[in-house]
Subunit: 206 residues, 2 copies
């Protein structure tokens, strides 16, 4: 892995699994930054532009696709588009930070294929019942949407083998420590420390 690629941490999982909260835990670590996604969905009341999402029009989104400006993108539930701009990689590299991607399962699989050195964490709800409760408590979805989200979650869970790590989100404190440990530990992956090792080897005369 060359220095031209920052450490990319993918945090992914079914809608409602609690990805965002765990991403916030990782972002508490110094030396990490979030890849701000672009989306065509309208902002929720509490969301300001540019913090978690750049809210753009469908026309703008299509232009970015045509220009190859996305590392990954997907249309979710046949409706809104979400994508991670490629430029986030350069920003992380310039700032010498690890880049955290909070993306859905489709997007995670795309990034893993393009960047095999990316570290992918699957956030898993402890059960279907628990996931349903979380989605209902959020109060954003119709009955129809809730059913679709649960069906989709079941499908997505089957992709777990494409991930490096899985964190069951049943206890926020434990799960938070786990994702932080994964993030910190991944900095020590041999592929990421190779340049440093080779420098040290020089002091041994080869």
């Amino acid at each position: 892995m060359s220095r031209r690629e920052p450490l990319v941490l993918i945090v992914s999982g079914p809608s409602g699994s609690g990805k965002s909260t765990l991403v916030q835990k990782i972002l508490e670590l110094p030396g990490t930054m979030l890849a701000v996604s672009s989306t065509t969905r309208p902002p929720r009341k509490t969301e300001s532009n540019g913090k978690w999402y750049n809210f753009i029009s469908e026309a703008e989104f299509r232009t970015m696709i045509e220009r190859g400006e996305f590392l990954e993108y997907a249309q979710v539930f046949g409706k809104n588009w979400y994508g991670t701009p490629r430029k986030a990689l350069n920003e992380a590299l310039e700032q010498k930070k690890d880049l955290v991607l909070e993306i859905d399962v489709q997007g995670a699989l795309q990034v893993k294929e393009k960047m095999p050195g990316a570290v992918a964490v699957f956030v898993i709800p402890p059960s279907r019942q628990d996931l349903e409760r979380r989605i209902r408590e959020r109060g954003l979805d119709s009955e129809d949407e809730i059913r679709r989200r649960l069906d989709r979650a079941r499908q997505e869970m089957l992709s777990y083998k494409s991930y490096d790590f899985a964190v069951v989100n049943d206890d926020l404190e434990r799960a938070g420590l786990e994702v932080q440990a994964i993030a910190l530990g991944s900095r020590c992956l041999v592929a990421r420390t190779e340049e440093n090792i080779l420098e040290i080897l020089k002091t041994f005369g080869g």
Copy 2:
């Protein structure tokens, strides 16, 4: 990976790189235990039998080899024998703990070959000069031995690619946090959490 195999954490690196101190850091984590090695070398003044090593005779060591009782073993500097008894795996499994192996580079490569699911951490001195200083400060070796240890360290450093993680031991606090993060994060490896994931999948009806 089946439940019949505990999480095995190999901590390895050149003699004098500070493996033992980092192993102690890992052992501070609940749910971890050390695999006590058997060795034919005489105990140092501060060493009691059975804590870090079982001190045994060469005849006893040979019998254990013949009986296939070692997970790995090696003769170090053509002199003393060191080995990790296989029974440590069963003990860790019974106690539901992660098993930490503090072993030399030869042994680490043997274990990785037999147990590809083991997580191997390479402890690297920040430089040859630093390693030499540490070996001298320990005050256990003749000039001849110091030279041999440094030569051997250079050779061993070249094996870094066989490891999963590398930790440069230049700052004990940072390196300690790194090995702890690697240990905690490794519990979440997908291969290790698969049975749990499949249980959760059942609640989704498949």
